[in-house]
Amino acid sequence: MSKPRDFVQGALELLLLKILAPEPLNGFAISQRLRQVSSEVLQVSDGSLYPALHKLEQEGWITAEWKPTENNRRAKYYSLTRLGRRQLERETDNWNRLSTAISYVLKLKET
């Protein structure tokens, strides 16, 4: 088992992949969605998602595109790649297995 920090890091990356699964989003929108989804439980600060996003991009699981927005500005939109979708499936499976195992252990009666 890796350190608790890595654990949270892994969970964050999984969430980001999941959030991006339906449609491309830009950074701010992702942070909003993240706040909705996890809120106080995970305590992920806004900023920490950017290094995570860049990392996912380096791994090839998400890809980014600059799209023009209103006001003649532009924003960076991230979307899931095919590889990312597979990674999402894989990680989800792992996560489910892990949580099942942990729940099982927690349910054991103390003897």
């Binding site: 950074g27 600060s45 806004d46 900023g47 920490s48 791994e59 090839g60 532009r74 924003a75 590889l83």
Partner: protein, 903 residues
């Protein structure tokens, strides 16, 4: 990483590398966009614009930090970072010329010395032989089982032939015998080294001649074998690189040989320091009795291992065969086994121990150099504290800072290494000039080649890591608060650093003292050996050797006659004091070893080595020429010759061994035969009467005990190979042409060789030890110099730190002497500690040195007692203290006002 992902990743990474500014701008834009949106959201919730903006920034966690984190995630960072670090390091180096100069010099000395020694190691220990797949070639010796030290003896032919039974481990065996050929004809007699080899030798070695062909099987059978292969050097030198050489004949030792091949220039066989440069190869012809002999150990044997077999397995397999032979032939083979060694070790295993020790010593010097540079870095690190603190505050991780400091260090050490290579180049030249290449011809090809350069550069980089790691780790860990204060100095980090520096200096001193004491030991030993009386007078004596070809001079009587005529002819040359011939000059190692009994003493119950003595055949003037003194009885005279009663003169050591307390004169010696021959010299000779006792000579070398010697008149036991010794009134060199002329008059085809003076012989004996001593002394001197610089640096720095304190004390009325004492205290403490530790370290170091000397040259370290060590250690401590005096005295001159003002 998935190949698929590459289609995304590769363009990304390339872009990061080449369009960096665009990427940076995008990152900035992205984060600012986020802040803007967050700000808008906050405003919509009711905050004022400024508060909203601030809240957004805080929520993000700081713009620059996030940027830095994102940058860290990008894959190509390290290349850029490295480039940036290196350029920064380069700037640092130029901005601090004093520091850079000292560091570079220190590193250059350390790395240069290591490079020089490694090139020697490379040439000797790791060398490649000029044969195909030389790693599979081995040499096979006979080993005398009762005495483990006798494990590299030549091989008896019948044994060699029988070993070929073991074809499990070996692809083949080859044998050879060294010989000397007198090349005759065209009034240019020349004596060259030759090797008679079995027909398959060149095939086994895997080297084909450049011209012509190698021997064919059958050409080493009895009756044939009148063919020869020339070396490239001989072909050029004596035959003018004649392209039509094949088929021509060469006359050697009065036989004609047809030249069938010429070897390529780089080819040498056999290699090894007793071989000399072999220039001609002929087939090895063994007659029937030799083929069946298990007693005449006369052949050198090499073999090629099968690809799947290693040395241990081969040895085990061959041992099976030798045991079978021991059972089948107990009287000859009972005590003999085999010893298989890699061919590459030939001639080198003798000095391997020495080389290893020197390599260790030079490694120590490098460590000392590293310690010095580390100290310099630590001192400088304190000055860079502020700069590094700011960087960390801006978000640089500690690992980044450490990486940068390491890069700077490696840059420094690489430059130092380059200078060191230049130093080594010069140093190797000097080494080669001084090296005893006549004894150890392998030392000749020592040079800077690709492998040595690679080693040197690799070592430089490693050194850089080594000395910058500690300082980098120490300097990068500090408390923000303490260091950002104005004039920030002195806190726990600084104390730890000072302790580290002190520790480094103590370590340096300890290592240096060990080296110095080792050098002292060898110096003292060398002086002691040089003072040893060799037992003869070497001044103004010229020697040369002549070997009569037995084809031309068949009878022993002819040998005696020839050499008598030589003496008669030469002694009439004006300017000569005396002329003689003998088996060899003293200390040449050309005497024979004979077994003997004393008449009337029981032979039983005596161990092998006790009944052997050195046996010299000499003419009557031999003792006069060599200055060997008479102790009892009389010298040999011209009247002692053929027909008169057999007599002998013995040495004092002989008397000590056999006749303690009894007068040896008149006793009789019975010779039992030459140890290295199965026939000849044995019983059948009448006993010798001892007629005189002479002083001992150190026949085996100045650092070996004197051997018991037996001298007999040459005419009573002639031999075809003898040395001519000539004592002249003055310098003998000028007489040489006349001597040659007269010898040619006697026999125009007879060359002389090994022309040298007795002083040369004595010098050569010590040459290797002298070389070793010189090297070790130079290393110790370098180490000492480095340590002096080291301790000076530390004390100067420490004193500099305390300038304020000293000036206050001076202002408050302290006397300069007290300041001096304070300043020196640390220096004294460090010296003492270092010297004590060094004394403790030197104990195992000298033991190691003694062992490697013993293995390599059979030398004992003599004359270095504890008193000498304590004296030298004290001297070193004193010198260190004196060096500390310089900054200490400067401290006493501090102007209080200046010190208090400056920050």
């Amino acid at each position: 990483m998935h190949p698929e992902s590459w289609s995304y990743i590769v363009p990304l990474r390339l872009r990061s590398l080449f369009r960096r500014s665009a990427i940076e701008q995008e990152l900035d834009e992205e984060l600012r966009d986020h802040i803007k949106r967050q700000t808008d959201e906050n405003v919509a919730r009711g905050m004022s614009p400024e508060v909203a903006h601030r809240a957004a920034l805080i929520a993000l966690g700081g713009l620059e930090q996030r940027k830095e984190q994102c940058r860290d995630v990008w894959g190509v960072n390290w290349i850029e970072d490295l480039a940036r670090d290196l350029s920064y390091g380069w700037r640092m180096m130029r901005q601090n010329p004093a520091f850079t100069a000292v560091a570079l010099l220190t590193l250059a000395l350390g790395i240069g010395a290591n490079t020089a020694i490694f090139s020697t190691d490379n040439a000797l220990l790791f060398r490649l032989l000029p044969y195909q797949d030389s790693g599979r070639l081995v040499q096979v010796f006979q080993k005398y089982l009762p005495t483990p030290a006798i494990e590299r003896m030549p091989v008896a032919p019948a044994n060699y032939l029988d070993w070929q039974r073991d074809d499990k481990s070996f692809e083949g065996f080859a044998a050879y015998r060294l010989a000397n050929f007198n090349l005759g004809g065209d009034n240019n007699p020349e004596r060259i080294r030759a090797a008679q080899t079995s027909a398959n030798t060149f095939t086994l070695l895997g080297v084909a001649p450049m011209l012509g062909r190698a021997f064919q099987s059958g050409e080493d059978a009895v009756g044939s074998g009148s063919v020869a292969i020339l070396s490239h050097g001989l072909w050029q030198r004596r035959f003018g690189a004649d392209q039509a050489i094949l088929g021509k004949t060469v006359r050697a030792n009065n036989r004609s040989y047809t030249i069938i091949g010429v070897m390529p220039p780089s080819f040498r066989f056999p290699i090894g320091w007793l071989s000399g440069e072999v220039e001609i190869w002929t087939p090895l012809i063994l007659n029937t009795s030799e083929q069946n002999s298990r007693k005449d150990i006369m052949l050198d044997v090499i073999a090629r291992l099968r690809p799947s077999v290693n040395l241990k397995q081969a040895q085990a397999n061959l041992d099976v065969v030798t045991r079978q032979l021991a059972q089948a032939y107990p009287d000859t083979n009972k005590d003999w086994g085999t010893n298989i060694m890699p061919l590459a070790e030939r001639g080198v295993s003798d000095i391997r121990g020495l080389l290893v020790f020197l390599s260790l010593a030079v490694g120590l010097v490098l460590l000392i150099a590293c310690a010095n540079v580390a100290n310099l870095l630590l001192a400088r690190g304190m000055e860079r504290q502020k700069e590094l603190t700011v960087r960390t505050a801006l978000g640089a991780q500690r690992s980044r800072v450490v990486r940068q400091l390491l890069a700077e260090g490696v840059l420094l050490s690489t430059f130092g290494g380059l200078i060191g290579i230049a130093l080594a180049y010069w140093g190797i030249d000097a080494l080669s000039a001084l090296a005893p290449t006549s004894r150890v011809p392998e030392l000749k090809p020592v040079a800077l080649n690709g492998r040595v350069l690679a080693f040197s550069l690799g070592l430089s980089v490693l050194t850089g890591f080594l000395f910058s790691l500690f300082p980098a780790l120490t300097v990068s860990s500090f408390s923000l608060h303490g260091t950002l204060q104005e004039g920030g100095r002195s806190n726990t980090g600084s104390i730890r650093r000072n302790r580290l520096k002190a520790g480094l200096v103590v370590g340096e001193l300890a290592l240096t003292l060990s080296l110095v004491l080792c050098a002292t030991s060898v110096l003292k030993s060398f002086r002691s050996y040089m003072a040893v009386d060799p037992g003869f007078v070497a001044k103004n004596v010229l020697t040369m050797r002549m070997v009569l070809p037995t084809e031309k001079y068949k009878q022993p009587q002819q040998w005696a006659t020839f050499f008598e005529r030589v003496v008669e002819e030469i002694k009439t040359i004006p300017g000569l004091v005396a002329t003689a011939v003998g088996s060899g000059a003293p200390m040449e190692g050309e005497g024979s070893v004979f077994k003997y009994n004393i008449a009337g003493k029981p032979a039983a119950g005596v161990t092998e080595s006790r009944v052997m003595a050195e046996y010299f055949r000499v003419s009557s003037e031999y003792f006069r020429v060599t200055g060997i003194q008479l102790r009892r009885g009389r010298y040999l005279q011209a009247t002692d010759g053929e027909g008169t009663p057999p007599v002998a003169v013995v040495s004092e050591e002989f008397v000590k061994r056999e006749f303690a307390g009894v007068d040896p004169i008149g006793q009789r010696i019975m010779l039992r035969g030459d140890v290295n021959q199965s026939v000849g010299g044995e019983s059948g000779r009448p006993p010798l009467e001892i007629i005189g006792v002479v002083t001992d000579t150190r026949e085996y070398g100045l650092y070996h005990k004197a051997q018991p010697m037996i001298y007999v008149p040459m005419s009573q036991d002639p031999q075809p190979a003898m040395a001519l010794l000539i004592k002249s009134a003055g310098d003998s060199g000028s007489l040489l042409p006349e001597i040659r002329r007269r010898l040619l008059k006697l026999d125009a085809d007879q060359p002389v060789y090994k022309v040298r003076t007795l002083e040369d012989i004595v010098g050569e004996n010590l040459a290797l030890f002298k070389f070793n001593t010189l090297l070790l002394t130079v290393l110790a001197a370098i180490a000492l110099l480095l340590s002096l610089i080291g301790i000076y640096g530390v004390i100067a720095y420490a004193v500099g730190q305390r300038t304020k304190e000293f000036s206050i004390r001076l202002a408050l009325g302290s006397r300069p002497r007290e300041i001096l004492r304070l300043a020196l205290k640390q220096g004294a403490w460090l010296s003492m500690l270092g010297v004590s530790l060094g004394l403790a370290l030197s104990w195992p170091a000298i033991k190691l040195l003694a062992r490697s000397l013993k293995q390599s040259m059979y030398l004992d370290l003599i004359g270095a007692g504890p008193a000498l060590f304590v004296t030298v250690s004290g001297a070193v401590a004193l010198v260190m203290l004196l060096v500390c005096l310089i900054p200490a005295r400067r401290a006493t001159h501090t102007d209080p006002m200046v010190a208090l003002r400056c920050e």
